[in-house]
């Protein structure tokens, strides 16, 4: 296992001039030995480029990759001792489950007794002990992907295990099990795990720290809690949470902010007298009494029963706002006017898309 340090940039074209020419803008990042990390972002944000640079599938156009201080920039994945799990199962159909799991160990000439012990342990963790003698060919796509995960985790001597969207082909129910297994395996084996995904639930639940990426940049690195509670950038506010943070244009005034035609008092802090954006998550946006001081009136345009909660879509001054209410709360009806409590301890203010601390 290794601490991984990146100090690099990558462009797929020669002589990059502008920001857009870079798949990864110049960055410095460090991944702790034994940590679980997720690289999260939309298609084209650079997360797979970063993963491929760590694995050695791709050489960065500038800068270095270090494992425990040693420069490995030009080493292959084999030389770096990296295990990888991809989106679709990569296994040998004609082999048994046990032989598939043992394959990476046999390749490294691990003694037979140790192989048996290790394969047995991984199979048990993944609840595949009863399937060890079955041929992989007869298994479902879900089961095959479990073998792929097992193959990635079977070696104890790897520098890191890299996962590229490993749960894409898995049905929702099995996802719950596998996420939990991965987490438990991480606790037990203390491997360095790096996980690429566009799925925030997978990223937030899997990783100790999530790297949120956009357009070749790491916008924020933080715990699930930090990304949810205090997004440092409006992109993170929007991207994390489902639906994302609500934003409204605001202007700092004496003692508060002006939002649309209302002045809302903000206690305990002074905001700059300039154009701002107010951000509040649907989960924290609450309804006040009619004409309550400090609220913004809005019209309810849609009410959705989404099972454990009720989702309201509201409209104020041409802006759409989402409100998530607990299911047991009496919800307003479409067309009703509601009074939104925009100012709360969870409210964030942004200047030039950056969080005002």
């Amino acid at each position: 296992m290794a601490q991984i340090e990146l100090d690099l940039a990558h462009a797929y074209r020669a002589n990059p001039q502008r920001d857009e020419d870079y798949a990864l803008l110049p960055l410095k990042m460090s991944f702790r030995d034994g940590g679980a990390y997720a690289l999260l972002g939309p298609s084209g944000c650079g997360k797979t480029t970063m993963l491929n640079i760590m694995s050695g599938l791709l050489t960065p156009s500038q800068g270095t990759v270090r494992f425990d201080g040693a420069d490995v920039t030009r080493q292959t994945p084999q030389q770096r001792n990296i295990a990888q799990v991809f989106q679709f199962p990569v296994i040998y159909d004609t082999m048994t489950v046990a032989d598939n799991l043992a394959f990476p160990l046999k390749n490294r000439r691990v003694p037979a007794a140790e192989i048996r012990e290790r394969v047995g342990r991984i199979a048990e963790m993944l609840e595949m002990s009863h399937q060890l003698d079955l041929r992989a060919a007869g298994l479902s796509a879900d089961q095959k992907q479990k073998i792929s995960l097992g193959r990635g985790l079977v070696r104890s001597d790897v520098s890191a295990v890299l996962f590229d969207e490993p749960l894409t082909v898995i049905d929702p129910h099995l996802k719950w099990q596998l996420r939990r297994k991965l987490k438990q395996i991480h606790h037990e084996l203390k491997l360095t795990l790096i996980y690429v995904t566009h799925d925030q639930v997978e990223a937030l639940t899997f990783a100790d720290e999530v790297v949120v990426m956009s357009r070749g940049r790491a916008v924020q690195v933080g715990t699930a809690e930090a990304l949810f509670e205090r997004p440092e950038h409006t992109f993170v506010g929007h991207f994390i949470g489902s639906p994302g943070m609500n934003f409204l244009p605001a202007h700092g005034v004496d003692g508060g902010v002006r939002v649309l035609d209302r002045v809302l008092p903000v206690a305990g802090r002074a905001l700059p007298a300039t154009e701002l954006r107010l951000g509040i998550r649907p989960d924290y946006l609450d309804l006040g009494r009619p004409d309550e001081v400090g609220t913004l009136p809005a019209r309810v345009t849609r009410v959705q029963d989404i099972g454990t909660s009720t989702m309201l879509t509201c409209e104020a001054g041409g802006h759409a706002l989402k409100v998530r209410l607990p299911a047991e709360r009496l919800a307003p009806s479409e067309g009703d006017t509601v009074y939104l409590r925009l100012i709360d301890t969870h409210t964030c203010f942004y200047q030039d898309e950056r969080l005002i601390p």
Partner: protein
């Protein structure tokens, strides 16, 4: 348009893909086909479209038997998981193609209108290959909408898109379906997606249609353990129990004062949705003590996996809860929030739905 399936079944060689089923789709509304991979969603859609012929039963469109009519003889628009567009045509030409086929006038205006609704109007002169996956799928959707077919079939149309894009497009599609008058069938594996789309839901499992009704109704009153399992994410906690004088006795736990219907059998299964479990007790609650196996913080919620004498439980707690592995934790539950099933499967009593005007 009224699409009715009567005892429609599909077998391929020795394999049963669809057990004979009856289904009358609510006209002009969206029907979500919900089920895991291999549940029979795609098989059913292909029969609805006329791409495959049913092995048994009849398919009726507005009362007319179309069982033997091919897809070309039916007025159907389809959208698949994989984006299907004409690669050599521009985005505008792709969207215009069904309009031209129908000999419509005013094609330019319609193309612009549809493109604007799906936010692809800046790309009208580009080729599909020059667009991102999400944009290509929007083109495919615009083409399907342009066709204005009375029946629109969408087979997991968002599955290959990014999570966030999926969320935005799902929201837009929900509004488009509600505004249009097509009968829409939308297949998904995700319970959350069905709830967000609303309309009606048909729950499928292993080639069987298990329940059809308004989406919220099916969610809140699943007819059987199988439906409850298919329509819960996080998975529903299922506890083995038996009927006793004071209510129910949970295997591995105590007796709970749960009111049972008069004809309840002895062997029961109790269903508890993850969101019904709380760390704070309220008067009248029953308690479940255990040890934290894992706490997954997902931002707005924390998913707590609890190891307890009654089995493994998953709780969905609002907000961020930092709980270390092995921490003892007691969760509380309003007995009214329990789904009571006959151990053989059928629902005996659904969880109560209480709404209050109080602050949450």
């Amino acid at each position: 348009m009224q699409l009715t399936l009567e005892q429609v079944g599909k077998t391929v060689g020795p394999d049963i893909h669809l057990h004979p089923l009856d289904l009358a789709l609510v006209p002009g509304a969206v029907t979500v086909l919900l089920g895991a991979t291999q549940a029979g969603k795609t098989s059913l859609m292909r029969v609805m479209a006329g791409l495959d012929r049913a092995s048994s039963g009849r398919v009726l469109v507005d009362g007319r038997d179309v069982t033997r009519a091919s897809v070309r003889e039916r007025d159907v628009a389809m959208v698949y998981q994989q984006f299907v567009n004409y690669p050599s045509m521009t985005v505008a030409q792709n969207i215009a193609s069904p309009l031209k086929l129908r000999g419509e006038t005013d094609i330019d205006r319609r193309v612009h209108e549809l493109a604007a609704r799906l936010h692809i109007d800046p790309f009208l002169s580009r080729l599909p290959a020059e667009l991102s996956g999400g944009q290509q799928q929007r083109v495919a959707l615009a083409r399907a909408l342009a066709k204005r077919a009375p029946l629109m079939l969408l087979d997991e149309p968002l599955v290959n898109l990014d999570y966030k894009l999926r969320e935005e497009l799902r929201d837009e599609l929900g509004a488009l379906f509600a505004a249009g008058d097509s009968t829409v069938v939308y297949a998904t594996t995700e319970p959350g997606e069905a709830l967000l789309l609303g309309g009606y839901t048909a729950v499928m499992d292993a080639g069987e249609l298990l329940q059809y009704g308004p989406t919220a109704e099916v969610f809140h009153a699943p007819r059987s353990i199988r439906v409850a399992r298919a329509f819960s994410d996080p998975p529903m906690n299922l506890l083995t129990a038996e009927a006793v004088a004071e209510g129910v006795r949970v295997a591995g736990g105590g007796a709970w004062p749960v009111a049972l219907p008069p004809d309840a059998p002895r062997a029961l299964v109790l269903g508890v949705r993850a969101g019904a479990l709380r760390p704070q007790a309220r008067p009248g609650d029953v308690a479940l003590a255990g040890r934290v196996e894992l706490a997954e913080i997902a931002g707005s919620d924390t998913f707590v996996h609890l190891h307890s004498p009654v089995g493994e439980l998953v709780a969905q707690l609002r907000g961020v809860h930092n709980l270390d592995l092995g921490t003892p934790l007691t969760l509380h539950l309003d007995p009214g929030q329990i789904f009571i099933f006959d151990a053989a499967g059928p629902l005996l009593r659904a969880a109560q739905r209480t709404q209050t005007g109080g602050r949450g």
